[in-house]
């Protein structure tokens, strides 16, 4: 475990309803995420995993409850949402690279426009990040020229180029060919080893087991069970979790 136990995100009684109270996507989530933690969220589809992850950087507006990020209540109306998002990198299931820009532009547009970095510096930084994921030779390619695994690696380093405090992963390997899953998971493992705080929605149980410091099992908009990977996978308590693990393992 990480020695630094500082809480970076604190979520209290988070609720997200659609159509009044008809659909409860999130029904009272409370949890703390500490610096350096790798929190893996698992659960059946429709359990609210993605909604929870997306409310952390307010891509979804919660109906009620509070999220505190580095001591500041970000659900308050006065929050600078754009500033918040600069500190939270996000990786999507469908990569969402910008198809009209080269890989290098994809990675430098935000640091240049938002951090005000000079172009050369931003590019140098982007190239060293690309080297970390073994794609420095594709700097001037366009996203359509890359494979799915390459696109997702680029999406990860695009978020990293902003030097975020936390990385959010929304099913990063679900849209990939099976043989490309490994290369993306490797990048994520290295990131975790480097001490990045990560919140990751995934169906890769192997990854959850190996890299996760904590696993959250969600069902019907609630946290059903929350524990270390060993306890979750070897000694599950809840019946719903047992049934789920039986199906996926």
């Amino acid at each position: 475990m990480n020695a630094d136990n500082q809480v970076i995100i604190s979520v209290k009684d988070l609720k997200k309803y659609y159509n009044g109270e008809e659909i409860k996507a999130l029904d009272g989530i409370t949890t703390d995420i500490k610096k350096g933690e790798v929190v893996v969220i698992i659960g059946p589809s429709g359990s609210g995993k993605s909604t929870f992850l997306r409310s952390l950087n307010l891509l979804e507006r919660p109906t009620s409850g509070t999220i505190t990020f580095e001591g500041e209540d970000i659900t308050a109306p006065s929050t600078d949402i754009n500033m918040l998002r600069q500190n939270m990198g996000m990786v999507f299931q469908h990569f969402n690279l910008f198809p009209h820009l080269t890989i290098l532009r994809n990675m430098t547009i935000a640091p240049i426009k938002l951090h005000g970095l000079p172009k050369e510096v931003a590019e140098k930084k982007a190239l060293s990040l690309l080297a970390r994921v073994g794609l420095e030779d594709r700097a001037n390619a366009y996203p359509s020229q890359l494979s799915g695994g390459q696109k997702q690696r680029i999406a990860i380093v695009r978020a990293l180029a902003m030097d975020p405090e936390v990385m959010l992963f929304d099913e990063p390997t679900s849209a990939l060919d099976p043989e490309m899953v490994g290369e993306v998971l490797d990048v994520m493992k290295n990131l975790a080893k480097a001490g990045m705080t990560m919140v990751c929605v995934t169906h890769e149980m192997g990854f959850a087991r190996e890299v996760g410091t904590r696993v959250i099992f969600m069902d019907c908009g609630k946290i059903v069970e929350e524990n270390t990977p060993e306890q979750i996978f070897l000694n599950p308590q809840n019946d719903r979790l047992k049934a789920f693990l039986q199906k996926v393992l």
Partner: protein
């Protein structure tokens, strides 16, 4: 079929069918056949000559036939040379013109001595054909009547260009308001900004409904005879009326373009920390622009043709100019066909431009 080809980078002759040049190691360009260009040029010139000489009986026909004969053989060989094809097309036009020219000259020669069999049917055609030069002179030369066409064309361009500019500006503003409303109404806190955006959205909605629900001629006449009744500047009124009309269509085109960009792009931009405006400017608009540009160009072409109804407010643009000539000379054939031909040429020119543009944009995706 292809015997040998050349690397376009270093000029080396390539034998065999490799895809990389052995000398300069660059990827090989498309296949080039020696002398193909020269032969294509000859066919092209032959086709051109058949047009130029089409007024000389028989010669034009012979030239065109020669062009067809040669190109038929060459086309199989010169699979990539477009110039030979163009030459063939020219020869086609030349052939048609030559046949017409030959008949015409024949009629001219026999006009004093028309055989009896031709009197009933041929007589009319012959008289009409013989009368063409006089008709042309009467319609376009006498009293400098071509000025109606030339000046009219100028005004048509003036109205179209400024109306298009106004239309694009209006359209972009309306489209941005409407798509901002669609994406921002949930996100915004209630307050003045929210209230203002809702109001603007309502106004834009009414604008689109009214403008797209009424004919442009009626809008033009309302603008001239009701709203700007005090103004005598017909060009300005036409620009305003057509611009406001075009703006409604442009707005829907642009809104469609913005909506066609994947929602994930917007989220990716926002998740990096870009605000709404910057996400639109850096990420959404550049992508929407590509899909929208051909439709926008088409809207411009429609606008050119639509300005032909300006005659309703007495604006002397191209169509009205032709109509004035008709009312002076009592002969409709020449002026109206001339006007139609001019519109056709302009529209064909811009259509060609649009298709080139579309191809370019498609290529830049890769």
């Amino acid at each position: 079929m292809i015997k040998s080809r050349f690397c376009k980078q270093c000029g080396t002759k390539i034998t065999g069918d490799g895809s990389v040049c052995p000398k300069c190691n660059s990827a090989l360009p498309e296949l080039v056949i020696p002398d193909a260009g020269k032969k294509a040029n000859q066919i092209f010139i032959l086709g051109l000559l058949s047009i130029l000489l089409s007024f000389v009986p028989v010669v034009g026909i012979v030239l065109a036939a020669l062009c067809f004969f040669f190109s038929n053989k060459e086309l199989k060989l010169v699979s990539s040379a477009g110039k030979a094809r163009t030459g063939r097309k020219l020869a086609g036009i030349g052939l048609a013109l030559s046949i017409f020219g030959t008949i015409y000259v024949f009629l001219l020669l026999s006009v004093g001595n028309i055989p009896l069999w031709a009197l009933n049917t041929g007589n009319k055609i012959a008289k009409w054909a013989v009368g063409i030069p006089a008709d042309f002179e009467n319609n376009f030369i006498t009293d400098s009547r071509y000025n109606y066409i030339v000046k009219g064309l100028g005004i048509t361009f003036e109205v179209t260009v400024f109306a298009a500019l106004l239309g694009v500006v209006l359209g972009v503003v309306v489209a941005l308001i409407r798509s901002s409303y669609d994406t921002l109404k949930d996100e915004m806190r209630s307050g003045f900004g929210n209230w203002l955006l809702t109001l603007l959205n309502k106004i834009c909605g009414i604008y689109l409904t009214v403008i797209r629900g009424t004919p442009v001629v009626v809008q033009l006449m309302i603008a001239y005879f009701v709203i700007f009744v005090a103004s005598n500047n017909k060009v300005l009124v036409a620009v305003l009326a057509f611009g406001i009309n075009s703006g409604a269509y442009v707005a829907e085109i642009i809104r469609g373009g913005i909506a066609s960009v994947d929602k994930g792009q917007f989220e990716a931009g926002r998740s990096l920390g870009f605000g709404y405006v910057r996400t639109m400017a850096f990420i959404i608009i550049p992508q929407a622009f590509k899909t929208v540009l051909p439709s926008l160009a088409n809207e411009f072409i429609v606008l050119i043709k639509e300005t032909s109804v300006s005659g309703y407010i007495g604006l002397q643009e191209l169509t009205k100019g032709g109509d004035i000539i008709r009312s002076r000379t009592y002969s409709a054939f020449m002026p109206l066909l001339a006007v139609a031909a001019i519109y056709l040429i302009i529209v064909m020119f811009f259509s060609k431009l649009v298709s080139i543009l579309e191809r370019r944009l498609k290529n830049s995706e890769r």
